[in-house]
Symmetry: C2
Subunit: 342 residues, 2 copies
């Protein structure tokens, strides 16, 4: 930081008190038109920029909120971020974007920094249930926060998320409608409520249609973006390999697709895939994946609205808002080749 001009410098140059400068700055209180002009001129001359740090210190509010997401490279979260941002700007808040990398410790560091710089509120897509500990840091200090996309077990707060149970169920029923019976699931870390919901929907659909739930069909993927594993290999070498896969998110859908390709298996020829959200932000490929799409932008605007209300002091009991997903049927699914009973 540098020796920038401060309010006193401006005051001196304009031959007024700091108070008058402050009044000009904030447009409140009476200032004679001529004085105001003198002050404005002095500001310009000195390249004066008000020090928001000092202002926040006395006002006890920073007009900043933080958005913490688990993966900044996932288009779902960048879309959420845009929603948050637009709504925040409309209300004169600045957004600080933080990337926890699905890592609870990194997440904690960011939350601690948020406390230190006294953000007015936090919107967070939590890394997992273990985030509870991090969020508890906020409670005694009374910093408002909203959960996005994922509930956190044992944490009371406003939540904005999608109806993953229902969406997963619909996706599976779509597969069943195409006569699939051997349907596997790629779930994300079961630390995340969203993953669990999607598994629940998967099971619900199977049950409803009298299809046996098979342990060995469900693969929990905790690995990160670039790591390798053999889930598909394992799946496809079972005595009764699946004919379709429900992937619990966009990343996993791609993973499944790529692994199948390596085994020379066709999608949807040999195996159908269904998933969540858009996979290919730029639509490089023809939109290909049959998918349940979440209204990500709305996740953002809505959760920001909630957060603003909390910051303004709304003290009602926590709300959960569950948004519908839109299932779009594309080319990653087709009728099963060799119908199976089961």
């Amino acid at each position: 930081m540098t020796e920038m001009a401060n309010i006193t410098d401006v005051a001196k140059l304009a031959n007024v008190s700091a108070m008058t400068v402050s009044r000009v700055l904030n447009g409140k209180g009476y200032v004679k038109e001529e004085t105001r002009r003198r002050v404005l001129k002095a500001m310009e001359k000195l390249h004066y920029v008000p020090n928001e740090l000092a202002r926040s210190l006395v006002l006890q509010q920073s007009q900043m909120i933080a958005l913490i997401v688990p993966d900044i490279t996932n288009p779902f979260y960048t879309t959420v971020a845009r929603g948050i941002e637009d709504m925040a700007r409309k209300n004169n808040y600045q957004v600080i974007l933080c990337n926890s990398d699905e890592n609870v410790d990194k997440e904690r560091e960011y939350i601690e920094m948020c406390l230190r710089i006294r953000v007015d509120g936090i919107a967070i897509a939590a890394a997992g249930d273990a985030s509870k500990k991090n969020l508890q840091l906020l409670k005694p200090l009374d910093i408002p926060f909203v959960l996005i996309d994922r509930r956190v077990e044992g944490t009371q707060a406003d939540v904005v998320l999608g109806d993953s149970v229902e969406a997963a169920q619909s996706l599976v029923e779509h597969l069943i409608g195409l006569r699939h019976r051997r349907i596997a699931m790629f779930t994300g870390s079961l630390q995340s409520s969203t993953s669990r919901d999607r598994v629940a929907g998967y099971r619900k659909a199977l049950e409803k249609h009298g299809i046996l739930y098979r342990e060995e069909y469900v693969k929990e993927n905790t690995y990160t973006r670039n790591s390798e594993n053999s889930d598909i290999q394992d799946l496809m070498t079972l005595p009764e390999p699946p004919t379709a896969i429900l992937a619990a998110n966009n990343i996993l859908a791609v993973k499944a697709f790529q692994q199948l390709k390596k085994l020379q298996l066709q999608v949807p020829g040999d195996v159908s895939i269904v998933g969540f959200d858009e996979v290919d932000p730029m639509n490089v490929a023809e939109p290909f994946f049959t998918s349940a799409i979440q209204p990500a932008y709305t996740f953002g605007t809505l959760s920001m609205q909630f957060l603003l209300e909390r910051i303004e002091g709304n003290d009602s009991s926590p709300r959960t808002i569950v948004l519908k997903l839109e299932m779009v049927i594309r080319n990653s699914t087709q009728t099963v080749k060799v119908p199976q009973d089961n």
Copy 2:
């Protein structure tokens, strides 16, 4: 912001002065072990979190830097962001990520906010040459900044960017090697130095191989992500339509591809495409585009290093570092069907 405990509260509870608490906090100066423990206990009891705002105010530095990018949804910039972030964290700086949306006015707003909250420095991929005005706000206040990916005409500063001239030339020569002679170019806004460099490389290659530069083959695209236009249409209905296209960035490569598809034209069967950077971060499609890839992560780490040096007071003359791009040949290019003279 809320009535959180402050340093005096802790001091009182621990029966010491604020100074002692401060010393415990910052681990400098001598504090008796027993006193230290008492202080620590008091902190915990009060859920004390140091107020970084106040600290920054007296220390005259915020330990925050800002990264301003023109498009947060472009994987190139998110990769840069990761590089910046990692390097910043290593050096105890927090990063504030801002999205200017290729909009000079929004960019100015963010820069003004950065000044108000007294960030220690700014890394910026400028919206265009018009960003000069915005950057000039920083000069008189002596806030260090680094330019990433794009020079800004008339602005002196450290710059980290790719060798776009050479890369564009190589891409075009690759096409020429495949016997293309009618090569069109999709450029981004010529407000951006990077676009201009790529056009320069394009012309250089043509010239070198005695191919006529044709005005009507160069299309400047200033439209945004979702807008429509007829560039490809115009191009392909020329008396001598191009057999290949150089796209000036990842977004434009996709645009070209999609528009060709609409006209029932095949890539690379009817038209070859070359571009820059990765197009498909998740590799949904087989990596498909022949492309010159920039070391985006390194852009980030390097520019952060420069910025840190400037913050620390390094006052040498501005440096420009130009990184090589890596050309990867993939499936969006092939030998021209009907060789043309020209």
